[in-house]
């Protein structure tokens, strides 16, 4: 990964040398590689390589219907680019989105899962599309180097490389493209979204959700664009003060809610699987937000309390597990948790029932051996008595 960072730094040095002579106009149609300066062309190659690395590492979410819908939304927002801006979903729980210089846009499952509806997602897509159209990936690098801030950027990138990779952070602007370009992307994105029938109230709501989660994040210093508290404050103010339609008038597309709830379920499992219980509590404690999530969210809130293990969390976990059982009695993880709770209370008959149901409903569960060991223990204790 360090090699990738150094390669990127070298690319930047080359671009810096050429910077004074460059005049970067926004794209107005799908560019061909021949339209690009050699330095920008190289960034497109790097973008393609970074995308290949994502794919090879198995970091892309493969839900064809959902990904297709995101791409349809992007094409609707930027019709003159006819699908050249391609959207993909990253298996990454940190809320973030990145637009690579070549028009590849990556949105993390942690960002999508937190958003409540299609309109909020459209706002993010419109913003990322604007980064590509305005060539912020390319322009940003010129500005950074012209300002002589290379050392700072390198330090930032090496710090972020842990989660996404230094090259990726550079290419996609994971840490932001700089305030001016972010403002520009917000303005252009909002106009595009409004033109497609989405209202700015949804942009404001999306930013408020992310601001709330950034305040209570598990990350000690969130540096990612959509997880940065001060930047989100500014964005909320900008969107509130902007003109144009306030409310979304466009009806949601068919089946989107069903697809989105499925993706949210994957996100909730990924978030708890990554040990981010604090972030989950922040996201799920709010009743209004849970109303826009799958019913299984009650189970994940219970799990988040149990794993956070603060004072009173044991009671909260127990109470939310009861709610989860009432809402989703056939969700296998609920049955396993109920079995463990029953075993802890000493009601082994109930535990046995729950564990057996769990194994029936989830025959390929990765923790099957553990659950079978609990059943064996219950059987042995029953025989002794």
């Amino acid at each position: 990964m360090l090699g990738s960072v150094l390669r990127c730094l070298m690319t930047l040095v080359v671009i810096a040398a050429a910077a004074p002579a460059l005049s970067v106009e926004p794209f107005v149609k799908v560019p061909t590689r021949a339209d690009l300066a050699s330095e920008e062309d190289r960034l497109w190659d790097d973008s393609r390589d970074a995308g290949t690395a994502f794919r090879r590492r198995g970091m892309l979410v493969t839900d064809p219907a959902y990904v297709t819908r995101l791409n349809e939304m992007m094409t609707d927002l930027y019709p003159e680019f006819g699908g050249a801006i391609k959207v993909r979903i990253l298996r990454e729980v940190i809320p973030n989105a990145m637009a690579f210089p070549n028009g590849d846009v990556y949105i993390s499952i942690g960002l999508l899962g937190r958003l409540e509806n299609e309109a909020q997602i459209a706002m993010v897509l419109a913003h990322e599309g604007a980064h590509f159209v305005q060539r912020h990936g390319y322009r940003g690098r010129n500005n950074i180097l012209a300002a002589g801030a290379l050392a700072n950027v390198a330090g930032l990138t090496l710090g972020l490389a842990g989660a996404l990779g230094g090259q990726i952070v550079f290419l996609g602007g994971a840490a932001g493209h700089g305030r001016d370009m972010e403002r520009e992307a917000d303005q252009i994105g909002l106009i595009r979204a409004q033109k497609s029938g989405y209202g700015r109230a949804d942009a404001k709501r999306a930013f408020e959700i992310l601001r709330n989660d950034s305040k209570q994040s598990d990350d000690p210093k969130p540096m990612y664009l959509f997880a940065s508290h001060p930047l989100l404050d500014e964005r909320i103010e900008t969107v509130s003060a902007a003109g144009g339609a306030l409310e979304t008038t466009r009806p949601p597309s068919e089946n989107f809610v069903v697809m989105h709830r499925k993706l949210q379920l994957d996100w909730l499992a990924a978030e708890i699987g990554a040990g981010r219980q604090k972030a989950l509590v922040a996201a799920l404690e709010d009743e209004d937000r849970r109303a826009n999530m799958p019913p299984e969210a009650a189970f994940y809130l219970s799990e988040a309390y149990r794993l956070r293990a603060n004072k009173q969390d044991e009671d909260l976990a127990s109470s939310w597990l009861a709610k989860a059982f009432a809402l989703t009695p056939n969700f296998p993880p609920v049955l396993r948790a109920a079995g463990l709770a029953a075993m802890k209370e000493g009601t082994t008959a109930n535990a046995k029932t729950f564990f057996k149901q769990y194994l029936e409903l989830a025959p390929d569960a990765t923790d099957r051996a553990f659950v079978q060991s609990y059943l064996s223990r219950i059987e042995q204790e029953g025989t002794k008595q």
């Binding site: 590492r57 490389a161 990779g165 990554a274 099957r368």
Partner: protein, 181 residues
């Protein structure tokens, strides 16, 4: 004279750099709070202070890592407080969560989580898999148990293709021999 001394200094430093790997004769090895009986002719990375690392073909191919972790070394990223009475399955869940926050491992897949005895204590055994930037698949077995007030954890990581199955029996023997050092 000064040039000659500098040259000697450089040679000494370089030689020290070459000496960090020690070939193992199969005798007991204790390091970083863990004690194991390593396979013969594997190499020990003695320079590594916080865990006992051995390999046969190089750490990029395979390695076995053993460590006795205490306090904030157990969950350094999530800052969770370790409780020795935590059930093994939950301990595995917390440890894997910690692993997923490590560089490049957010796409890690859990293949199985099962009970395991480590140093005579009830613990867990998890098998996880992920791919690197070039698409090469790696598998890792993580076996851990609460011992006294810390976590004794042994990990075997290898390229999935060919090497994982070949060296897994060596790991099983190492795991059987593991204890707090």
């Amino acid at each position: 004279m000064i040039k000659r001394m500098l040259l000697l200094l450089v040679v000494t430093v370089l030689m020290a750099g070459c000496a960090v790997w020690t070939r193992l004769d199969g005798g007991p090895l204790t390091h970083a709070g863990a004690s194991i009986k390593p396979p013969v002719d594997w190499m020990h990375l003695a320079a590594r202070k916080d865990s006992l690392v051995i390999t046969r073909d190089g750490v990029a191919i395979q390695f076995i890592d053993a460590a006795y972790l205490v306090d904030d070394k157990i969950f350094p990223k999530s800052k969770q407080v370790f409780n020795k009475d935590t059930p093994p399955q939950e301990m595995a869940q917390r440890y894997i969560g910690e692993l997923r926050q490590a560089p490049g491992l957010s796409g890690l897949d859990v293949k199985s989580v099962a009970p395991e005895t480590v140093a005579g204590r009830p613990g867990f055994r998890a098998v996880v898999e992920w791919r690197n930037d070039r698409g090469a698949a790696f598998q890792r077995v993580i076996a851990g148990a609460a011992v006294d007030n810390g976590l004794l954890v042994l990990q075997y990581q290898s390229l999935k293709r060919f090497f994982f199955a070949r060296d897994l029996p060596e790991f099983e023997r190492v795991l059987q021999s593991a204890k707090r050092g």
